[in-house]
């Protein structure tokens, strides 16, 4: 099993940390992982993306041009990465951030209204964890338990009290994701 994922959106949406938590969860599953950010003059409101690879085997190239799954959290990301998904792959998008939904019919499209859900619960910070939950429902590369163990490793101890809230968001994300085609 090798899963090549691109997560892309605005800076500040938690794109990079979502990728990191996913990679940590992969480690907890005993898998090989790589996490490669688009680095540079990224800033809040700018664009941010990260390529995460989770594999049973050694990860060869951390740089790929085609992905199994694209998680797109704004319109420019959808336009940039929809053409780069392998046939039979998956696209996951946030319903609020995407005006023009994906058009390809050879990939599975999933919509998650994570922004709306985050606003409804009054906690915008768990937005990325809602999306991560949705992704794990579609592509169960790691269990929620492994993600939680990953969070314990990824977060400094002073933030551990926030883990139950994040776990709840992941589970909620699994419930609200919808298949669109």
């Amino acid at each position: 099993m090798t899963e090549e994922i691109i997560i892309s959106g605005f800076g500040g949406q938690g794109v990079l940390s979502m990728g990191k938590i996913l990679a940590y969860a992969g480690i907890m599953e005993g898998k090989q992982v790589s996490w490669m950010p688009a680095y540079g003059p990224e800033q809040r409101g700018g664009t941010a993306n990260v390529t995460v690879i989770i594999s049973d085997d050694v990860v060869s190239s951390p740089i790929v041009s085609q992905y199994d799954t694209a998680i797109v959290l704004n319109q420019p990301s959808l336009e940039k990465f929809e053409p780069c998904i392998k046939p039979g792959g998956v696209i996951i998008y946030d319903g609020h951030s995407i005006i023009q939904p994906p058009k390809r019919d050879d990939i599975a499209a999933y919509r998650i209204d994570a922004m709306e859900e985050a606003a409804r619960t009054g906690n915008s910070k768990v937005f990325n964890m809602l999306v991560l939950g949705g992704y794990l429902k579609v592509c169960p590369v790691a269990s929620v338990e492994d993600v939680v163990r990953g969070l314990h490793k990824a977060l400094p101890e002073r933030h551990h009290k926030l883990i139950p809230m994040n776990e709840e968001a992941i589970r909620r994300g699994m419930e609200i994701i919808k298949k669109m085609n």
Partner: protein, 380 residues
Amino acid sequence: MMDNNQQNDYKLLKGNEVIALAAIRYGYDGFFGYPITPQSEVLETLAVEKPWETTGMVVLQAESEVASINMLYGAGCTGKLVFTSSSSPGIALMQEGISYMCGNELPGVIVSVGRGGPGLGTIQPGQADYNQAVYGGGNGDYNCIVLAPNSVQEMADCMGKAAQLTFKWRTPVIILSDGVIGQMMEKVILPPFTPRRTDAEIAAQCPWATNGIGLKSRHYNALSTLEFDPQVMEDRNRAMAEKYKRIQAEEADYELYRVDDDTDYLIVAYGISSRVSMKAVDILRENGIKVGMLRPKTLWPFPSKAISKLSEKIKSILCVEQSEGQMIHDVRLATEGQATVYHTGRSGGMISSPVDVVDAFKSMARETITKNWPKGYWIK
């Protein structure tokens, strides 16, 4: 699935972070550096770790790269294990100091995390500093040992290897990495803590050091690159050349990937290009093409003998590097004319994808296919 203990040993870290953490654990005495993308996390991580409170390692942000390398030079004179890190334009500023350190045969580790050039270039990853590291921009007959890690784990390992080689051979060691290996996160196991050497241990290991240790019982040590008598200077150069020959005989290191007796084609690549090429080799092998990869783990000394031996039986070589072609010259020399060498790669901050390498490989192979090859050898 591995057992829990093993998983807990793994950390998910950036290559740059690992450089800093490994230095503390390998007992480095000091770091002098100036921040520059894409390696600023080295200094940042050291600032977070505060090793001066634990191992006593000195961490100093210098006013420039010129200052950093001269601090490294000074600390190297005292037999301390010290390192600096920078990226392409910063390493360019250090060339004078590197030449002086080589002239005085001093230890020191220089981490170079390459980006696109020339000039200020871009902050995106690049491998256009092969010539800078291997052939140097300083004056005189000198060489530095150049290590080329291709994973986050190797970034850690190279800090240990560099510490050992720089004292063994009394010459600076450059760890030539790139923006991808520096910025990406992978699983890594950090080395166990080794205590920093004591003054007595340094005195025993570096009897030449100008540190004043044991001065009452010996003549003073002096270190200078200046020599007015050309005969003395030539003798010194020849002694250094002898040392460089021994390094070439003993330290050249490389790794083979999917190379066997039937291999028709060879890819030669280091650093990030070797990771991209691994995937390209896998894709080509799935299509029945007999291709393998040789990855130099040391760029100086270059694994010329291994390439020469392989070129006896292969049809052609593709040199993959993210530059307009620098290592290709060493690959060509190594083949001694026995195989044709082609180059592919991108530059200025762009990185080849595995598909790019596969495409370049196919056009190379089309050119080198002889009449003996069966029709339809190419599937696509």
